[in-house]
Amino acid sequence: MAELVLEVQGLRVHRDGVAVVDDVSFRLAAESDTALVGPNGAGKSTLVAALLGLLPRQAGVVHLLGQPLGPQGQWPRAIRSQVAYLPQTLAVRGRFPLTVRDFVGLGFDPAGPGLPWRGGRRRRQAVDRALERTESLALAQRLISELSGGQWKRVQLAFCVVRPRRLLVLDEAQAGLDAPASEQFQQLLLELRRQEGWTVLQVSHDLDMVRRSCDQVLCLNRQLRCSGSPDHALSPQRLAELYGPGFVPYHHHHQPTPR
């Protein structure tokens, strides 16, 4: 049986005194790619924020790599360093004097106090590799404020993969990417899972991509409405239950990404 990376039991999270996520339980096995789907306002980003320790929880137990999430939502440092996160939007306002290379280097050792030039050679090699993997090496000297939306997403992914980690959490990270870029993004996630044992949890509205690429789906609308394989969880009947009876899924035509 595959190792358990994340285990959530009876999670409840409030925003402004209202339960936005209620009684949610699920498990993520190592190297799996799980999609979190649901209508707008279903609590997907809130659930992700609680898992990352950015929001306190009102009830429930969360274990990551066997370690429990603290009462105030804090992970032990060793566990936190195993998680990478790509937010829905990362807006850069105005000219930002930070090159792509320097930004990706921040992901190498982002949190702790320490001299900024620490880990020099290892950091440079890791940054080059991360930029190569995300096909962003040509952008290395550009400012992050000079990138297009798709380039910026690739660079953010390089920031996440610049060091080995166990869990990658993506909050609608592929929104705004064109079809080839989205496909390339999924290929890289597959490579990270197969070759380096990463586990992926991604919030997504792209049900076609979820069908093609993910091996588990969590349907959330405040509570977990259903879960399981894409064929099971994204059946017309379950989608109608999740999004409402008038929902008709639109299908794109793509080459499938192997799961």
Binding site: G53, R77, L98, T99, D102, A111, P113, Q141, R142, L143
Partner: protein
């Protein structure tokens, strides 16, 4: 006596030497803190802090205490309260800051009107008196510059992530609240300490202009921070020398030099080829 002779005579005076060292350090400090304040869109916050400092000075005068000593705890407390207000209120930050600083300015003017004779005068509060700073003030600014440099260097990665996105920073283990508050407190202390030299009205220029000029021309973050700091110090030095040469008010002379520096940076960006 020619202008140059007058300048040489002025430079021989201890008060001018103190002013030059103090101006250089205050300019460097303003540029250093300004580099992150501008990226985090805290320019108006530093302006509001500066204006509200007048209330702190007024309280000091009313209580017959050294205004500088009252100003530091006042500015820190004020910054923390405003930060709480911005976080808890659902109003836009600029509107809230406007309410807070205009109200505190009103209270300050009322408080000052209760004092029959204030030795320093309102002019000195508004535009500063860098020629009147003591060696104690200079050492205080130097100590603060050392502390701020050390803190920002050691926490540089956290500061950059925090500037980009608080959730991203938090997810990667940055202690968001601690660093955000530490920076705001540091900014408040810098504003409070610099008020005597720079004045209430011009303090935000020391924080904003060198950082904006540096932002226009820098491509790497360490260069941006260092250039903002050095430009702040250099402009202060040049402005003070110009003031000594022309016998014009020192604070405004420094700000005019900073503005000229900003215009040069703007011109350089026009001459630079666009990125491929």
């Amino acid at each position: 006596m020619s202008g140059l002779d007058a300048l040489q005579a002025a430079l021989a005076q201890p008060f001018m030497q103190r002013a030059l060292v103090g101006g250089l350090l205050t300019g460097c400090l303003g540029g250093l803190l300004g580099s992150f304040a501008v990226l985090r869109q805290l320019s108006f916050f530093s302006d509001a802090l500066g204006h509200s400092a007048l209330l702190g000075v007024s309280i000091g005068i009313l209580l017959n205490l050294n205004p500088t000593l009252v100003l530091i705890p006042f500015a820190v407390l004020f910054a923390l309260l405003v930060n709480q207000l911005v976080e808890r209120s659902r109003l836009p930050t600029d509107a809230l800051l406007n309410i807070v600083y205009s109200t505190s300015l009103a209270f300050a003017v009322v408080a000052l009107s209760l004092v029959e004779s204030y030795r320093g005068g309102i002019q000195q509060l508004l535009f500063g008196d860098i020629l009147g700073i003591s060696w104690w003030d200079v050492w205080l600014i130097a100590g603060l510059l050392c502390f701020a440099t050390g803190y920002l260097v050691i926490s540089l990665r956290a500061q950059v992530l925090l500037t980009l996105d608080e959730d991203l920073a938090g997810a990667f283990g940055v202690r968001v609240n601690l660093h955000r508050l530490a920076f705001i407190v540091l900014l408040a202390v810098v504003v409070a300490v610099s008020i005597k030299a720079v004045g209430v009205l011009l303090i935000s220029a020391f924080v904003v202009i060198p950082a904006c000029a540096s932002r226009l021309v820098s491509r790497r973050l360490p260069v941006y921070i260092a250039a903002a700091s050095l430009l702040g110090g250099f402009c202060a030095l040049l402005g003070l020398l110009g003031s000594g040469l022309t016998n014009l008010p020192s604070g405004p002379c420094v700000v005019i030099v900073q503005f000229l520096g900003f215009m040069v940076a703007l011109l350089l960006t026009r001459l630079r080829p666009a990125p491929a």
